[in-house]
C-alpha cells in the first residue's frame, strides 16, 4: 500500500534494540508465571516458519517460554483470544497476554463489556515503537516506509495500565500522519465522490470476514449479518450486500473500537477499513469527548447519555 509520494519522505529507521530487551523480559516473566502456576497459559508471539515472521501462540508449558519473542512482526492483537468467540483458549484457565498499547485499549474495552474480569488476566504490556504494516516481507527492518499507519500516530507507546511493562522505547521519529491526511482528503470530497470511493472499495470485498474474525469486539455468538430471518444484510458478496455489511460493522464498533487497525491489515483486498472506525472515533470524541482509553469504563458513549447532548441536527 505504499506509493510514490512516500519516496519524498526521507527514510528513517527506528531502533528496535528495545524489542530484544522486551523479548528477554517476556520470556522470563512467562516462565515465572507458568512455573509458579499464577497462570495456566500465556498468549504471546513466537517465530513463524518464514525468517523474521511472528505468529500468535498459546503456551502452557514453562519450557516453551523460550520460544516467545517481540519484534516488529508482532502485529496481531492478541486480545481476540480472550473473548467468548475463542472458548477453547479461555477453557485453558487463567491467562496471561502480551499486549501492545493499542491491544491494551481493546483489553480495557472487553473488561468494560464483561467479557472477562480484569483480575482474571495478567497483562504483560510491551513498550512498542511500532510494528510492520500489511504486505511487508517478514524480517524487514522497521522504517518509515514499513511501519503501520496506526503507529505513525500512536499515542499509547507505553501501555501503563498493564500489570508489567517490558521493553525499552527508542527515540521515536516524528512521522507525518498519513492516515490523517487521507481522512482530510476524503472529508474534503463531495458526498457523491466519497460514495464512488467507498463503492469502489466495497465492490472488491469478497466477504472473507477476516476483518470480523480478527476484531476483538466482534465476538457475537451469531453475527447480525449471518442471520437469515430477517436478512438485515444480504449475505452474498455483491456490492449492495457488502455496503450494508461494512456500514453495520462500523456502526456496531462505534464507541468500542480500540483503533488497533487489525481489520485493515488483514483485509486481503486492501480495503482501508480503519478509516470507517477512525471517523466514528473522531465523531464520538467531538460529540461526547469519548476516547478509547486504557482503563475500562463502565458505560461506553453509546450505552449512556447526557441530558445536554447536542441535538442541533434535530428539528
Amino acid at each position: 500500500m505504499n506509493n510514490s509520494t512516500e519516496k519524498a519522505e526521507q527514510a528513517v529507521t527506528i531502533d528496535i534494540s528495545g524489542y530484544d530487551v522486551a523479548t528477554a523480559e517476556i520470556r522470563s516473566e512467562a516462565k515465572r508465571l507458568l512455573t509458579e502456576k499464577i497462570v495456566d497459559a500465556v498468549v504471546g508471539y513466537q517465530a513463524g516458519r518464514r525468517k523474521g515472521s511472528a505468529v500468535p501462540v498459546i503456551i502452557t508449558d514453562p519450557a516453551q517460554a523460550e520460544k516467545l519473542l517481540f519484534s516488529p512482526a508482532c502485529v496481531n492483537n492478541l486480545s481476540i483470544y480472550l473473548t467468548k468467540a475463542k472458548k477453547e483458549i479461555r477453557a485453558k484457565g487463567k491467562l496471561a497476554v502480551v499486549a501492545k498499547g493499542c491491544d491494551l485499549r481493546a483489553l480495557a474495552g472487553l473488561v468494560g463489556e464483561s467479557q472477562f474480569k480484569r483480575e482474571e488476566v495478567v497483562i504483560i504490556g510491551v513498550s512498542c515503537a511500532g510494528v510492520h504494516r500489511a504486505g511487508i516481507q517478514p524480517g524487514e527492518p522497521l522504517t518509515n516506509s514499513t511501519i503501520a499507519k496506526k503507529c505513525r500516530e500512536c499515542s499509547v507507546h507505553i501501555p501503563d495500565e498493564a500489570d508489567l511493562v517490558v521493553g525499552k522505547l527508542p527515540p521515536l521519529p516524528d512521522l507525518p500522519p498519513k492516515e490523517k491526511e487521507l481522512m482530510e482528503k476524503l472529508d474534503a470530497m463531495t458526498p457523491a465522490l466519497r460514495w464512488e470511493f467507498w463503492k469502489e472499495q466495497f465492490t472488491r470485498c469478497i466477504r472473507c470476514l477476516a476483518c470480523r474474525q480478527v476484531c476483538p469486539f466482534c465476538y457475537c455468538e451469531q453475527c447480525l449479518c449471518d442471520r437469515g430471518r430477517p436478512q438485515a444484510v444480504d449475505t452474498s458478496p455483491r456490492p449492495s450486500g457488502n455496503m450494508g455489511w461494512h456500514i453495520v460493522r462500523a456502526m456496531h464498533l462505534a464507541g468500542r473500537c480500540a483503533g488497533c487497525a487489525e481489520c485493515e491489515r488483514v483485509c486481503p483486498m486492501d480495503i482501508p477499513l480503519n478509516l470507517l472506525n477512525r471517523k466514528m472515533a473522531e465523531e464520538l470524541k467531538e460529540l461526547y469527548h469519548y476516547e478509547a482509553g486504557m482503563k475500562p469504563v463502565e458505560k461506553g458513549p453509546l450505552t449512556s447519555y447526557d441530558e445536554k447532548d447536542d441535538q442541533s441536527f434535530i428539528k
Binding site: 463489556e113 464483561s114 465476538y219 457475537c220 447480525l224 430477517p230 456496531h252 461506553g300 453509546l302
Partner: protein, 665 residues
C-alpha cells in the same frame, strides 16, 4: 401464516369519502397470505365486530388486519373481538387509513394507493406476528408503608381496611410524625392530637397492620409484586411484650435533664423515655447515649423498678425480612435549619439571623410545641431565653423558601397558613400581645383558607408588613428585627421579644440513600420524583412503588391525607388480582446467542435486565447471559436496538416484523 382476514372500514364516510374502499379490499384479496377481505360501514360497531368474528370462524382465519382508524383508538376493541373469536389478540393489527390517510389527503387516487400500501404493510407485519400471552407476575398481597406520619398512617389504614396485610415501619420510637407535634391545625383550629391519636390507636389495634417502630429500612430487593424488605429493628432495651406502659421507670430515672428532641429541645426527658404522652406504641425506649447504665455500667434503676421486668439492657439490633408486593413511601419532611448549608447553596445558612445563636429566634415547630397543651410549657407561650411572656412577636415568612441563593427556589406551600394560625394562637394565649408578620405575598389557596388568613388580620389584629427582613440581632434582652415595609417604602425596626421564622420544608435527612435503596429517582432537592407530574402523581416510575405526603413535595395535611388514600387505592388496584397481568410487549433474551456484554443492561432505564448465570448440572459456571425480568420491562425496545447481535428481542416489535414492513416499500 397464510389465512389472513382484511376488514376495511368506511367509518361512516370518514374513510370512504376519499378512499375507494372496494378497490382496497380488491387489492387486499390479491395479497399473499390473505384468505378473506371485505369492507363494512362501521367495523367498530357491534354488527361490524360480529361480522369479523363470523369471518374468523367461517374462513378459519389465523390473522386479522382491520383497516380503519388509529390503533390508539380501537386496537383494544378489535383485539378483544379477535380474542372472542378464539384468536390470540396479538395476531390482530390495525392499519391506520383514517387519521394517516383519508383525513389528510384529498386526492382520491393518491389516498386509495396509500391506503392499499398501508394495508399491504400491515398484512406483511401480521404474517410475522407471533401469539403472545399476557405476562403474569405473582403478587404478594402485602404492602409496606415507610414512615409513620399522618401520610403513612392513612395509607396503612386504607390498605388494611381493604383486607390486605400492611407492614408499617417508623424510624422514631413512636408513630405520629410531625403532625403529632402540632398544637392546633388550620383552617379549623382543631387540636391535632385529638384528630390524630384515634388514628394512631387504630393502627396499633389493627389486626392486619404489623408495626415496626424505632426501625429503619436496611435494604430492598425484588420488583413489583415480589419485594423482599430487610428491616433493622433498633434495640429499644425494653421488651414490648412485657411492658404495660405504666411509666414508673420514666419517673424513677435519675437522668432528668436530657433535651427532648420531640419538644425541639425546649422540654427535658429522662434517659428511658416516651417522646410524647400520647405515643403509640406506649413503650419507652432507652437513649443509650445518655443512659448512665450504658455509659459507665452504673445505675440500672429502671430495671429494678420495672414490675413486669420488661427492661433488658442486652437487647440487640435485629434484622427482620418482610415479603411485600407494593411499597408506599411516606417519609415526610424536615424544616430547613438556618445553621446548615443546604445542598447546592453557595453560602452557609442564615448568617443575617445570627445562625440560630439568638435563643429567642425559633422556628415554626418550636412555636407549635410552645403552643401545644401537651408541650413542655403546657401551652403557655414563653421566651426560651428567660421564660417570660413575649409582648411583641415577629413572624418572618419565606425563610429559605423562594431563595435561590440559599439553594431552595421552591415555595413551601404551608407556611403562610401556619403562620396566620400562629398569630391566632398567640393572640388567644397573650391577649395584650402584638404579632407582626413580615411576608412577601400570602398563598392561601385551600378551602376556607383565605377566610382564615383574613380572620388573623381583621379579628386577631395581626400586623402584616409586606417586606423582607434584612437582619435580626440581639439588643439587650430584646431581639431587634430590621426589615423594610415596601408598601410604605420605609425601613422598619421592631424590638421584639420573640421571633418565629417560617423556615422552608425539605425532605428528611437520608432521603437520597433511601431512594437509592428503593431504586426510585429524586430531584435536586431530594424530593422523590412522581412518574408524571399531572397524570401519575402518586406513582414512581419504578413499578410497584407509590408516594404519599411531603416526601414527594411540600404539602399540607389535607393534601397529604388525600395523596395517602390515592396511593392506597393504587396499591389496592395492584392487589385486586392475584396475578399482575401486564402487556406481553416485553423483551426476551435468546440465551443461546447472548454473549453477556450487558449493553442491554446499561441502557435499560427500568433496571429490568439482570445477569443470569448458566451452570451445568455439576453446578460449575458456563457463562453469564442477560435476563429480562418481565415484571419490570416496560417494552421500550432500546435494548434490542443497542444489542449488536439482536440476541434480545422485543415481542410485538421484532426485527422480522419491521423488516417485513420495510420489504413492502
Amino acid at each position: 401464516m397464510s389465512r389472513i382476514g382484511v376488514f376495511i372500514c368506511h367509518c361512516g364516510e370518514n374513510i370512504s369519502r376519499t378512499v375507494d374502499v372496494e378497490q382496497v379490499a380488491q387489492a387486499a384479496r390479491q395479497m399473499t397470505g390473505v384468505a378473506y377481505a371485505c369492507d363494512y360501514k362501521y367495523m367498530c360497531s357491534d354488527p361490524g365486530q360480529t361480522l369479523l368474528k363470523k369471518a374468523v370462524a367461517e374462513h378459519k382465519l389465523e390473522g386479522i388486519v382491520v383497516a380503519a382508524c388509529s390503533p390508539r383508538m380501537h386496537e383494544k376493541t378489535f383485539r378483544n373481538a379477535a380474542q372472542a373469536a378464539g384468536l390470540n389478540p396479538f395476531l390482530c393489527e390495525m392499519a391506520n387509513i383514517r387519521e394517516h390517510c383519508s383525513w389528510v389527503h384529498d386526492d382520491r387516487a393518491e389516498a386509495t394507493t396509500k391506503a392499499t400500501d398501508i394495508v399491504r404493510m400491515l398484512v406483511e407485519r401480521v404474517r410475522k406476528n407471533k401469539k403472545l400471552v399476557p405476562i403474569t407476575v405473582p403478587v404478594t398481597k402485602r404492602a409496606l408503608v415507610i414512615g409513620g406520619g399522618i401520610a403513612g398512617i392513612q395509607a396503612a389504614l386504607d390498605i388494611a381496611d381493604c383486607g390486605h396485610q400492611v407492614v408499617l415501619v417508623e424510624r422514631e420510637p413512636s408513630i405520629g410524625g410531625h403532625m403529632a407535634m402540632l398544637s392546633e391545625t388550620f383552617p379549623t383550629l382543631d387540636c391535632s392530637q385529638c384528630i390524630m391519636t384515634p388514628r394512631m390507636v387504630d393502627v396499633i389495634n389493627h389486626p392486619r397492620i404489623t408495626l415496626h417502630t424505632y426501625s429503619e429500612i436496611e435494604c430492598v430487593d425484588g420488583y413489583i409484586g415480589n419485594f423482599s424488605i430487610t428491616i433493622k429493628k433498633k434495640a429499644r432495651s425494653v421488651d414490648m411484650a412485657k411492658c404495660t406502659g405504666c411509666g414508673v421507670c420514666m419517673e424513677k430515672c435519675p437522668q432528668k435533664k436530657i433535651p427532648n428532641e420531640f419538644d425541639k429541645n425546649l422540654g427535658f426527658r429522662p434517659a428511658i423515655y416516651v417522646p410524647f404522652p400520647q405515643a403509640v406504641p406506649n413503650t419507652p425506649v432507652i437513649d443509650r447515649e445518655h443512659c448512665t447504665k450504658f455509659i459507665n455500667g452504673k445505675c440500672g434503676v429502671c430495671q429494678k423498678v420495672c414490675g413486669p421486668g420488661a427492661v433488658d439492657y442486652e437487647q440487640q439490633d435485629q434484622l427482620v425480612v418482610e415479603q411485600v408486593g407494593a411499597i408506599v413511601v411516606a417519609t415526610g419532611f424536615k424544616l430547613y435549619d438556618i445553621t446548615e448549608k443546604p445542598k447546592g447553596s453557595a453560602i452557609k445558612g442564615y448568617g443575617e439571623f445570627g445562625h440560630g445563636k439568638i435563643p429567642d429566634v425559633i422556628d415554626g415547630l418550636t412555636f407549635e410545641r410552645l403552643a401545644s397543651a401537651s408541650g413542655p410549657t403546657g401551652g403557655k407561650i414563653v421566651r426560651p431565653s428567660d421564660g417570660k411572656e413575649p409582648k411583641q412577636v415577629v413572624f418572618v415568612q419565606c425563610v429559605g423558601s423562594r431563595a435561590r441563593e440559599k439553594g431552595i427556589s421552591y415555595c413551601s406551600k404551608v407556611c403562610c397558613m401556619y403562620t396566620a394560625k400562629h398569630t391566632m394562637l398567640y393572640k388567644h394565649k397573650v391577649h395584650d400581645g402584638q404579632a407582626y408578620v413580615f411576608f412577601m405575598d400570602a398563598r392561601t389557596p385551600g378551602k376556607s383558607y383565605d377566610e382564615f388568613w383574613r380572620r388573623a388580620i381583621e379579628e386577631e389584629e395581626a400586623v402584616y408588613v409586606r417586606g423582607m427582613v434584612s437582619r435580626v440581632y440581639q439588643k439587650g434582652d430584646k431581639v431587634v428585627v430590621m426589615g423594610s415595609d415596601i408598601a410604605v417604602g420605609v425601613q422598619v425596626e421592631i424590638e421584639a421579644d420573640l421571633v418565629v421564622l417560617a423556615t422552608a420544608i425539605q425532605p428528611r435527612d437520608g432521603a437520597d440513600t433511601l431512594a437509592q435503596k428503593l431504586g426510585i429517582s429524586y430531584d435536586k432537592y431530594n424530593f422523590y420524583s412522581e412518574a408524571h407530574a399531572k397524570l401519575r402523581p402518586v406513582e414512581c416510575a419504578t413499578a410497584g412503588i407509590y408516594l404519599a405526603g411531603a416526601c414527594q413535595g411540600p404539602k399540607d395535611i389535607p393534601d397529604t391525607v388525600a395523596q395517602a388514600s390515592a396511593a392506597a387505592a393504587k396499591v389496592m388496584t395492584l392487589f385486586s388480582k392475584d396475578q399482575l397481568e401486564r402487556e406481553p410487549i416485553v423483551a426476551r433474551v435468546n440465551e443461546k446467542f447472548c454473549v453477556g456484554c450487558l449493553a442491554c443492561k446499561k441502557v435499560c432505564a427500568y433496571g429490568a435486565v439482570e445477569e443470569k448465570e448458566i451452570r451445568d448440572r455439576q453446578g460449575n459456571l458456563i457463562r453469564v447471559v442477560a435476563y429480562v425480568n418481565p415484571g419490570l420491562c416496560s417494552g421500550c425496545g432500546t435494548c434490542q436496538a443497542t444489542c449488536p447481535s439482536k440476541s434480545v428481542e422485543l415481542d410485538g416489535y421484532t426485527d422480522e416484523q419491521v423488516m417485513a414492513m420495510l420489504d413492502t416499500l
